[in-house]
Structure formats: C-alpha cells, structure tokens
Symmetry: C3
Subunit: 173 residues, 3 copies
Amino acid sequence: MTTTIAAPADATGHGQARRRPRRLAMVASKGTLDGAYPPLILAATAASLGWEVGIFFTFYGLDIIHRKKHRKLKVAPLANPAMPVPVPNLLGALPGMTAAATAMMKGWMKDAKLPEVAQFLDMARESGTKLFACSTTMGVMGVKASDLLPGVDIAGATAFLDFAADADVSLFI
Amino acid sequence: MTTTIAAPADATGHGQARRRPRRLAMVASKGTLDGAYPPLILAATAASLGWEVGIFFTFYGLDIIHRKKHRKLKVAPLANPAMPVPVPNLLGALPGMTAAATAMMKGWMKDAKLPEVAQFLDMARESGTKLFACSTTMGVMGVKASDLLPGVDIAGATAFLDFAADADVSLFI
Amino acid sequence: MTTTIAAPADATGHGQARRRPRRLAMVASKGTLDGAYPPLILAATAASLGWEVGIFFTFYGLDIIHRKKHRKLKVAPLANPAMPVPVPNLLGALPGMTAAATAMMKGWMKDAKLPEVAQFLDMARESGTKLFACSTTMGVMGVKASDLLPGVDIAGATAFLDFAADADVSLFI
C-alpha cells in the first residue's frame, strides 16, 4: 500500500499533485452475510486501485473478524421485504428459514463468483488493508482479544476518526 | 449539472476558489420503502443546490431501480421496535402486516407531500443525477440488465470509488 | 468547539496549515438502541478531540431526540442472526423477547461502562454538538416540534448538506 497516485490537478481542485494515495475508511457495523459483503467488496476494489483502506469493525460487525463466527455469517429472511424470494413473515419465523435464506444467497454468490468472507479477509490482509476491532463495543458484544482473527488490531473510535479524517471516502456500513 | 459554485476561501480551507460543483456520492443498499427515501430525498436536495449527484444501487437497493419492483417497495413492521405504531412481534409476523405498515407509511408520506419513489427517480434523471446499478451484485440478486429502469448505467465498485473519490460528501445508505 | 487543530502539512496534502477544526457530519436514521449508540459514541469521541460535530436525525432516528422515546430505545432480537445470544426466530416473535434482548444489551453496556443515551445527549449538547431534527421526515413520522428534546434544531436536508459539504468525515448511520 505504498503506491502513490499522482492525480491530475483538476481532480483535487487545488492545482497540486496529490502527495499520498487515495484512502477509504469504513465502519462495518453489521454481522449478517449481506452486511459483510459491501465493506469487503469495496476494500478489495479500493486496494486493487492502490488506495489505502481501513475497516473499523464495531457492534455486530465484530462477527466478521471473529475466529469462529466469520465463516458462519447468516442472512435473515424475516422482516426483509426486499429479500429476492419473498418469504411470508410467519413462515420466516419458523426455525430453519434463516438457514435456507443463507444457503440460497451463498449459492447466488458462488454463481456470481464472489469470494467467500474468509477469502476476502485474506485478500484484505495481503493488500495491507487495516483491520480494526472496536475496543468500546468488544466489551458490549462479549468479544475477547483471543476471539479475533490474526492481523486484526484493537482500537477505539479515536483511531477510526484519525484514519478517516484524511480519507477521500468514509462510509458507515 | 454544470453549475460551478464559487465557495468562499474559508469554506475549503485552502484559500482558493473551487473549480467544480459540489458532489454527493451515495450507495443505496436497502430495498425497503423507508430505505429508498433517504438517498432519493438527499439526491433531489443536492441537485436543487447545483451539486453533482451519483447513486450506486447495490444488493437490495437494486429494487429501487427495478422496472417492476420500484413501485412496490415495502416497509417491514417486524423487528423494528422504532416503527411509529408499535406492532407486537408475533402480530407483525402475521401475513398482511407488512402490507398494512406499508400502506400506513405511504399515507404519512402523502400527507407530508413527499413525492413517490417513481417521481423522485424522474426528478433524479431530469436533474442529471447519475444512477448506477452495481454489476457485481446484480448477479447475486438475480437482476438482469432488462430489469432496470431506463437511464440507469451498469457499473462496478471501481466506478463508484472513482466518482466518490472527488465527492464532498459520500454516504452508504 | 472553537479549537483550531493545526494539522501537519502532509496530513492535508496541500502544504498548508488548516484554518478550521476538523468536522464530523452524521445522519442518524435508526431508532433502535444499537442504532443510536454509534452516532452518539462517535460524536462524543470527535468532540473530545476538538472536532465540530453535527448530527441530523431522520426517520426512525428522530426517536433518539424524542422527549419520551429516547429513554426507551429497544433492541430487536428478531431477524438479527448476529445478535450475540441467538434467538430462534419463532421464539423471537413471542412478545417479551424484545424487552429481554433490550435488557440484556443494556446490561452489557453498563458493564462496559457506556453512558446511557440520555447522558450521551447531555454530553453532546455540552460540547456544542449540533443536533438537527429532519423537518421533512418529522411529518412522515408524526413527530411534532414539542416532542423534541431541548437544544434540538429543526432543519431540512439542505442544512445537512451545507454542514456536511465542509466536513472531513460524513457518515449515514
């Protein structure tokens, strides 16, 4: 991640070449399969363009970098009227429907040749993407340092703001 | 969208007039009625101020620019304790409650004189707002090019990052 | 909030000291307890670093600054497979489970020594954080001016965009 992008003067609006690479700062706050993909896809895309990338995992998003949970993220069919195959709510409440919706979306993701969450995380670490676990909400969510995947740093909201302050794009997902 | 806003020097912090209009970049990832309104309201507001606007529709958000689905977006009463009229969860699970919650919110939106989704999309196209359908997740969600409303371009995450890199405000909704 | 942070030249990329403090602009669109904490934690952190902070409460997020509702925000156990203690969906649909999930998360937040929502709001007002209630969605959500906590200003999306246009970090939560 040491690539320097020399953007044309008109791109930055102040007539000077950029001295640092573009930067993408994201907060990943969701622990569902469909909530994990957007930050991971954006991180991989930005890294491939030479951007610096940092993801700050907080609240349910901590599951994405949890040793045991990151391979078991699920899609909820309930209360989601936009789910591709609509599930009547009462049926959605039956045990087993979350598993079915998850299997269904995983199949589509495979068809679309999307890497799995674990592969995206490997790519992120290899490309130098910074992965932060939110120290404040680790306590709230009962996540211990030993629960985190290797390569994840524990940091507070101050670290996120410091990183995001100089980002070209910041997103809360 | 060719208006140039000459911002005062202290607004940009580097003592130079801006050479380009303000820009708003949004990702619209939700396919519910209440998830569609924020990007559409912000797009209309920003365009009316002379900003360049781009919306990147991904995952469930693809429903907002889907020929058949954009007129049928729904509100889920379930698992949403902040829903104005609280619906006990078990009752929310009964078929028909999603329709009731949707009708209710549509009524309020009409009372508040908010345009409907289709009207907001018309306004967006007329004002030059860029509408992108996420090529990566179209496959995952089973959305084909022929399902998209006219005036929508298909693009990847790279296109979003390119657009957002020079945006003044970027939001993931 | 009049602190001026003189950032090093390489932080801004254009070789000039900053003339204004850093700025964080947030939209708070969720009315759940777990949806309220991220903007409140980020606001308190940013303010403690001398940043200017503004939060624009819209849709369900209006509950966070509602006189009666801000002390009663809830966590929904349903349709949330990432909930720390998984609740089978059918069980989650039983009345009482929302209350149980809420009590559980409040307990963890207390253990993690997180202030309550009302305390965070007090801190925000004391630090000069700007609190805006979205005028467009107040009508949609049936929220009246008299329902709002003191210190909250009513403003439209234009006000948010004006504030966010010069923000270093903008987030939709």
